[in-house]
């Protein structure tokens, strides 16, 4: 059978830097192709070429046997290629039906045919398993439901090829299962999918074929059967990544001084009766499903949200008041979404890093900033977080890969020399190489006496990284495990609603 989509020696450069070099591979009809690679490997650029957002400098694409050279996102749609973007591309104030048919409403004369619109929308929603009325505003949907809606949108114009970009990063376990079932169903209908993900286990489980990109070149391709996670990772990073997690040292609790003490913390409808102690030098994990109150707990601890009962102390001193005061006591929070509330995306690396500690570099009497002092601090912290030297201080952070962005957030907090770090999903959406570096960094911080609280949806990450683990379930702590008693199934049982 002839392939549905072919990349033929596709190349693309930005400002003289080659980001794609002679990329060639095929997507067969009715196949799921897993596309993997570190951030910056060229996956997004490749998909932007496919989607008509960018044009290739070299090579060509063929789709359904014909030459395919889209000049606009509309062209991709007309050809029958649908995208489910990582940052979901939906309009919360419009309803489901309008989101589905935004670009080609059924009309009579100038007016929208409402009956037909709602009928067709209902049928599509049914197909992806979203049993909601077509007039529901999209703003009321969960992330998982929005993902299904995006797929329904691709089906609205009968897309033969659907691209899923990091579709599971913010999904709960049942939502994930639903998505996987839908992917298999679409394949059974004869459609093809390109599945982009950092979660290699998912890729291997879902994909028929796998393509590995590194530095803009295809470094591996074949049927999924030929790959295993270890081989994928070594292809992606170009070296044998022996150990993702740093060796558990005899650190942790060596000192035993309580750093962060939480007693009887509660807020109606959010968390209930939370008590735990984070010790000096300890890495404490918090596991739990989406909506278990993990992020909410971190926000309360950092003073972003109120709590009705209980106390929080840091090194014996009660923590009250707004984040500003808690930062002064030595608390830091890395937020769940670095794009939304972790970084000023258009500001430079230097400005982002300096943000928290800017006041310390202000010289009396006029409180003018000491540029030399700032530069020195920046140089020191850049080395500490191993920010790639090729990145300049003046580069806007939005041009950085996810891993480097996360390092900038960490650098910002390290300058404040925090005693306790709250890390909410510290490795979300970043590649394996950067992940390993961040894990290393977390351990170094703990070794130097910080207490680190890690919140994560990836159990493997928590068990690899932490000295101790708490499980949150509907706002309560339902389990506590120490490193020698980590048991994935027991942890999962504690996390599932009873």
């Amino acid at each position: 059978m002839s392939p549905l989509l072919q990349f033929e020696s596709v190349g693309k450069s930005f400002l003289g830097v080659e980001v794609l070099k002679a990329v060639s591979f095929d997507v067969g009809p009715g196949r799921v192709v897993g596309l993997v690679g570190e951030n910056g490997a060229g996956k997004s650029t490749l998909m932007n070429l496919l989607g008509g957002n960018l044009r290739p400098d070299a090579g060509s694409m063929r789709f359904q046997g014909a030459s395919y050279a889209p000049r606009h996102p509309r062209d991709a749609r007309l050809a029958g290629i649908g995208f489910v973007h990582q940052e979901l591309n939906l309009f919360p104030d419009l309803d489901l039906a309008e989101n589905l048919f935004l670009a080609d409403f059924p009309t009579r004369g100038p007016l929208i045919r409402r009956w037909e619109l709602h009928g067709r929308a209902a049928a599509l929603l049914q197909r992806v398993g979203l049993g909601l009325p077509p007039t529901t505003p999209v703003g009321r949907l969960s992330t998982g439901e929005r993902q299904l809606l995006e797929i329904a949108r691709a089906l609205s114009f009968d897309a033969q090829l659907i691209i899923l970009d990091e579709p599971t990063t913010s999904l709960s376990v049942p939502e994930r299962e639903r998505l996987f079932a839908l992917v298999r169903q679409l394949r059974a209908e004869g459609r093809s999918l390109i599945y982009i993900s950092h979660t290699l286990g998912e890729v291997l489980a879902l994909a028929d074929d796998v393509v590995v990109l590194r530095d803009g070149t295809v470094v591996g391709q074949g049927t999924a059967r030929e790959f295993d996670p270890v081989r994928l990772v070594s292809l992606m990073v170009g070296r044998e990544l022996k150990q993702l997690f740093p060796k558990p040292q005899s650190n942790g609790q060596a000192d035993g001084t309580p750093w962060l003490e939480v007693r009887g913390l509660g807020q109606p409808g959010v968390v209930q009766d939370i008590s735990f102690t984070l010790r000096r030098g300890e890495v404490l994990g918090i596991s739990g499903l989406m909506g278990s109150g993990r992020t909410e707990l971190a926000r309360i601890l950092f003073g972003l949200d109120p709590h009705a009962t209980g106390t929080v102390t840091l090194a014996g001193k009660p923590l009250t008041g707004p984040p500003k005061e808690r930062i002064r006591h030595g608390l830091a929070l890395l937020t769940e979404s670095r794009r939304d509330d972790g970084l000023c995306l258009e500001a430079s690396v230097a400005d982002n890093v300096a943000l928290v500690t800017l006041g310390r570099h202000a010289r009396s009497p006029l409180r003018l900033l000491s540029i030399a002092g700032l530069r020195e601090a920046l140089a020191k912290v850049r080395a500490a977080v191993r920010l790639q030297p090729r990145l300049t201080d003046q580069q806007p952070v939005q041009t950085l890969s996810g891993g480097n962005q996360q390092k900038v957030v960490l650098a910002k907090w390290l300058l404040a020399e925090p005693r306790v770090l709250l890390l909410d999903e510290p490795t979300r959406g970043i590649d394996v190489g950067a992940k390993a570096e961040i894990y290393q960094l977390i351990h170094e911080l703990a070794d130097r006496g910080a207490g680190v609280l890690v919140i994560s949806s990836e159990l493997e990450e928590l068990t690899g990284l932490c000295d101790r683990l708490l499980v949150l379930n509907r706002g309560r702590i339902t389990g506590e495990f120490s490193r020698d008693a980590f048991d994935s199934s027991a942890i999962l049982r504690a996390a599932l609603p009873t």
């Binding site: 996102p73 104030d93 419009l94 935004l102 007016l111 929208i112 409808g269 509907r474 706002g475």
Partner: protein
């Protein structure tokens, strides 16, 4: 805040403009018996027509997260051109067509600047505001022009027993409302306002949609200009001054967001326009110091916007995600 108070307060805040509107009407009604006469209310509607029509065009632009500051200048230039033409002997229909043409041309110029050259809407239309005003002043040599009575006759003309200006405004509002709620173009505008990049990725021709709203806004400004001329019967050098702000205020009072993607012309902008006009009309009836008008109008606009932001804040607070239901106490 307990749930009962919450239930009482939220609907009140949700309709802040309506509540204020009622308060203003009742207030003026109590202060002056002349306010609630049929003649005065009809007069109020006639006066509000122009603002409503200009506000409708502005609402389209605001929905796409843009702004059109040039509408007041459009009214002035169009009026100046029409005045010159009629004084040179052109008949009324020619003058009216000229006004509309000026509106479309300035609208197209704004579209060119914003869409083709990528100038920020605020800057681009601020530029056309000054260009328009300057051109109009040069054209009129800053002299006031009295227009023939045929213009004033338009203002007092009746359609099926109703005064022409509100009828025309009602037609514009009805067309705009149907366009925004029932046509692909209208729904797509909301998407563009919510996220321009997102709309592009969804396959919309964003450029074409934006061109359409700026041309529409120019067109509405011209129509609004005709309605104003029909009441004043003269073109003064200050004609149309600050009308961009009244139009924006009418739209915002009506619940249209300056950040795009949210709002509508009916009841929104219409209500906003009538509210602004009621305040002015009431103050005139009360014989208030004319220099106080802008202060009182501003105070009411402030109050409405304040109530609206309180509402969003409270809603965000009350709507905070609950993980489990509160146990009954």
């Amino acid at each position: 805040m307990n749930p009962t108070r919450q239930r009482l307060l939220l609907p009140l805040l949700n309709h802040a403009t309506l509540v204020l509107f009622a308060a203003v009407l009742v207030g003026f009604g109590l202060l002056s018996p002349k306010f609630f006469t049929a003649a005065n209310l009809a007069n109020l509607l006639v006066q509000a027509s122009s603002t409503a029509v200009v506000g409708v065009g502005m609402t389209f632009v605001l929905l796409t997260a843009g702004v059109d500051l040039s509408v007041g200048s459009v009214m002035f230039v169009a009026a100046a051109v029409a005045g010159k033409l009629t004084l040179a002997g052109a008949p009324l229909p020619v003058a009216l067509l000229a006004i509309v043409a000026v509106g479309l041309v300035v609208g197209a110029l704004n579209a060119l600047l914003v869409v083709r050259l990528g100038v920020l809407a605020f800057i681009a239309t601020l530029g056309t505001l000054y260009i328009g005003r300057g051109f109009g002043l040069w054209l009129t040599q800053t002299r006031a022009m009295n227009l023939p009575d045929s213009f004033l006759a338009l203002g007092t003309a009746k359609v099926a027993g109703l005064p022409l200006p509100p009828v025309l405004a009602a037609v514009v509002v009805a067309l705009a409302h149907v366009t925004l709620t029932r046509t692909p173009f209208g729904r797509q505008l909301y998407a563009v306002g919510a996220s321009r990049e997102g709309a592009k990725k969804a396959g919309l021709n964003v450029g074409r949609l934006l061109v359409a709203v700026y041309v529409l806004s120019g067109f509405c400004a011209a129509l609004g200009g005709i309605l104003s001329l029909a009441q004043l019967g003269a073109v003064s050098p200050t004609f149309g001054t600050n009308r961009e702000f009244t139009a924006i205020a009418a739209a915002v009072l009506g619940g249209t967001s300056l950040f795009g993607g949210r709002g509508g012309v009916f009841p929104g902008t219409v209500l906003g326009a009538i509210l602004i006009q009621s305040v002015e009309n009431g103050l005139v009836i009360l014989n208030a110091d004319p220099y106080l008008y802008p202060l009182v109008t501003a105070a009411i606009i402030f109050l409405a916007v304040l109530l609206d932001s309180t509402r969003s804040r409270l809603q965000a607070h009350w709507g905070r995600r609950r993980i489990f239901d509160e146990p009954a106490e």
